[in-house]
Symmetry: C2
Subunit: 639 residues, 2 copies
Amino acid sequence: MPIVTFLPGYRKARVTQGATVLEAAQKAGLVMNVVCGGQGKCGKCIVRVESGETIFDREKFGVLFETAELDAGACLACQTRVFSDARIEVPARTLVQEQKILVDARPLDVPVSPSVRKYALTLAPPTLDDPSADLARLLEGVEHSGGPAATKIYAPLEMLRKIPVVLRHGRWRCTATVALVPGGYRLINVEEGETRARLYGAAVDLGTTTVVAYLWDLAGGRVLSTASNYNRQISCGEDILSRVNYAKKNGTGHLQELAAVSINTALTAAADAAGIDLEDIYEVTVAGNTVMTHLLLGIDPAYMIAEPYVPVVRRTFTTTAQRLGLAVAPTAGVFTFPAVSNFIGGDIVADILTSGMADQDEVSLLIDIGTNFEAVLGGRDWMLACAGAAGPALEGGEVLFGMRANPGAIERVRIDEATLEPAFETINRVPPVGICGSGLIDLLAGLIRACVIDRTGQIDTGIDHPRIRMGRHFPEYVVAWEEESGAGKDIVITGHDIRNLIMSKAAVLAACITLMDAAGIGHDDLANVFFSGAFGNYIEKENAVTIGLIPEVPLERVKNLGNGAITGANQALVSRERRKALDRIARTVTYIELNADPGFMDRYTQSCFLPHTDLALFPTVQRMLEECRLRKRWGQWQA
Amino acid sequence: MPIVTFLPGYRKARVTQGATVLEAAQKAGLVMNVVCGGQGKCGKCIVRVESGETIFDREKFGVLFETAELDAGACLACQTRVFSDARIEVPARTLVQEQKILVDARPLDVPVSPSVRKYALTLAPPTLDDPSADLARLLEGVEHSGGPAATKIYAPLEMLRKIPVVLRHGRWRCTATVALVPGGYRLINVEEGETRARLYGAAVDLGTTTVVAYLWDLAGGRVLSTASNYNRQISCGEDILSRVNYAKKNGTGHLQELAAVSINTALTAAADAAGIDLEDIYEVTVAGNTVMTHLLLGIDPAYMIAEPYVPVVRRTFTTTAQRLGLAVAPTAGVFTFPAVSNFIGGDIVADILTSGMADQDEVSLLIDIGTNFEAVLGGRDWMLACAGAAGPALEGGEVLFGMRANPGAIERVRIDEATLEPAFETINRVPPVGICGSGLIDLLAGLIRACVIDRTGQIDTGIDHPRIRMGRHFPEYVVAWEEESGAGKDIVITGHDIRNLIMSKAAVLAACITLMDAAGIGHDDLANVFFSGAFGNYIEKENAVTIGLIPEVPLERVKNLGNGAITGANQALVSRERRKALDRIARTVTYIELNADPGFMDRYTQSCFLPHTDLALFPTVQRMLEECRLRKRWGQWQA
């Protein structure tokens, strides 16, 4: 069997004849970018074969490369098969890198009343006159300490087996841990002595790409530490669809384990940082989209990706850590968020909880843009929601120099409207290697303000400027010259990129307008526009309105929730009352299937302009664009 | 390592040097009588060494044998160590044989309303307009079919994983199985198509010695079959104390498995007889004494055998079949009976339920005599209970020719008061090999009526009769001559046997009187005396009163419950209402610790007479004995 050696790290893997380089990389523990799930479409898993017998179809996949790259041996790891020992060079950008993960939750303004509590007990030892059973003695102790009635507490088998030893070894001083569960209470641990201070909980945002964990001291009601890392499922495909397809082919077992491992990795880091034992974590709340929740629970998500898109479970669910393979106290409850539909999952319900919109009389709009986008409109009495694929452009996919928010990504750009020269900032302030989502939106807004592109996104190649030129296939604007770039070449945005970006933002805007039309709501009626998620957190609000990503509202009404999913998970962890609100929220929201909405395609077409075909919907943007055009004519006239 | 071959079956086992013959027998799959748990005390595990190097201490254990037996190579399997290949002859009586197990339950007079129910559903397939989740669709179907509210039904993880496949594969026709559990309802299965007829349940009497199972068709409300077998834990010691000591030494794991295997064996036989699949059994109720219940649940019973005799759990408990290793539907609920104390277990609570005494205004006395005895006195508003060791005499232990109710046991004896000749019946009508409990009580009553023994149990050796003679150590009465016996020798009852029997019955009577004194109840106040268990079922009521095993009451008030434990288990299986009564019964009973009762020893001493030192408590018996004495004097005078 061939041995594949990966450079520069010299990691090795032994694989069968004909295995792909991607499979070898997975075996060697390298996590590569595979946006398309290994179908040879995204062109992100580029490697270079240095030696060895390999097969790669240059005819078929060559369009993704420059000729020089192909000549140097570049190929796609997912499409290259190995037939002898080989040495493969892996460029840094092919590997999943440490990304800016949004861990910040909003401060909690809820009283701390966790579902799990500890009771320190000093019990009277049994005597011939008082020979009541160990369990009754313990539970009556809990009741007398202000806990729930002894008859309402269920003690599972493992507790019955543990109780007699702990009570006697601890000389009848012990601490009981009791959790509120559906239908009553559950005794989830009993320890010797007084351990009330060691009562921790974890809130988890289980994203398709990243996992964020908050570790709480539930006794003291404060955050101890946070941690985040990649969702290890990335090795089985980058987006939801490829994960579901992986599950179809290989079963859900492996993806379930990877979900648990991903959470365990974050919890271990958080526990290490806080100096606590994982075994003292007695409750975990998990907010994730519907597919992530299903995969964590080990439920086949296959039926969700075809019409009529039906999840197996929508309501809140509670099970134990040991059943999911989470490395906390084995009997700890794991609470998963409810979903509205298969596309509006627990993460969005957490966003709604975080925004507080479900408690308000006014109408708010909530938008979460990630790998997909979701939008929710409404308030206390009604809510409408829809979801769709924006395409990967807003996250840097399908854009020539698009990239995730990794070091070297251009995250801020301003274009001088007179000189057309850009000023940019990169993540970690290193030479730029690409452009991430917030940078792309800035670019789009800057280019239209500078009249480099028109409202359809066409680059005006009539402009005589070194930065505006014809590229290999499309016209392009140079954002960074080779000499200032870390990519070894000019960093550009092409007409094709711009088209992809407009189609992406149009999907979001058309969805918002569809909800507003369905409810009979105008953009003046929106009391708040909430952005949730990393994307919303980093973009320039004004530019988002300028390009028509969201409906035009006064900018002070646009609010960032930060990571709404983790904030919601935190609330459900520390507050029984907030947790109770969840099923009600999930039931209040009506899901609108955009594909079934007859007006959606028209609204989409109308939204494929900057900002929209009907400028009456964007009066402020209209005025601003007119001013720009006038200024430009004036400048041209002056020249 | 030596190989031990057992004759006559030629079973073989390879053991380490110095292992006991008993260990070798266990390894070879032979189940020997080991009443004392292998301590060399009971003398039941007699074998004969035919060849091989073995060590057995004749000095120490010889008292248990006749000299001729010792000379022929007889020894105790538990005390004989093997140091070379050996051939060991095992007499049939040393092996546990098929015993008369009392499987008969009383007919049920309760309406059938089991805790587990099936709902056959025809669901509307999901559409884009009706995309509700699979789980909600299913549970709402249950609700609309007259089941509990969807929000009150918890679906465990394994059901969530199963539902989408079953619904689609069965084309949205399915059958849901829902069980009433503490705190709500639980979805325990979902199957394709209409399977309502396949809803079975099992009631189990888990005794220290035997396991009895009833298999029910819960849909039709009728018994399908019954089965019984030995409790496999017998290989770890015959009585409760030796089981607990085994658990102390080896952990509870092995005993837990043996309990499950014993139940599985009975259930398999019952299911085979009924022609059903074990997987279609969705609920199991188990009535057992407190130690058996703890061992089935895998809870260490160690603390129960020392002061203050505290069980770990007394109340009713529900867990799943898979957690206990029962071979029925994995998610089936297993319900265990509550206990009053460590000595008044679920079997006695089942007796009380069966007797109906807890629903009556009158006062009843309930007695269960088995390896130990338990007594309960009272009615609807109060009940007192106590328990004690009667010693094994009443079950045939510590009696020279005592034996279990196996084929060849003398189970009925009448002694002609004029000729002193006995007339007896044996089980299966084969030549007698020993005497079981009911036969021993008949003998005792017959011997006193015939004035062969006096009220202290002394055999009157002054009587000149061939059946009355001096034995090796004690005077004895010959019940069967060698030529009519299947034991190859005279079958006798000795003065020592009689002493043991009197001490045993005295313990029972003293316990009953202690309860009656505590409640201020005389024997005239007893509306019923219930006998539960095999022993009570087979004994002659009149003889039980004659020897003073129970207080004197009119014989029509003495009633047999049959196997009260299995009847109670049946009731809890088929009736939600009867099950609900159990915790109330367990709470109503007050346990009296006889060892802590200052008057008990006096009452015991007074009861060590036939029937009691105070004949005023037994007026009818007194008259009868006086008549016997007069008749005898008259006969002597005539002679």
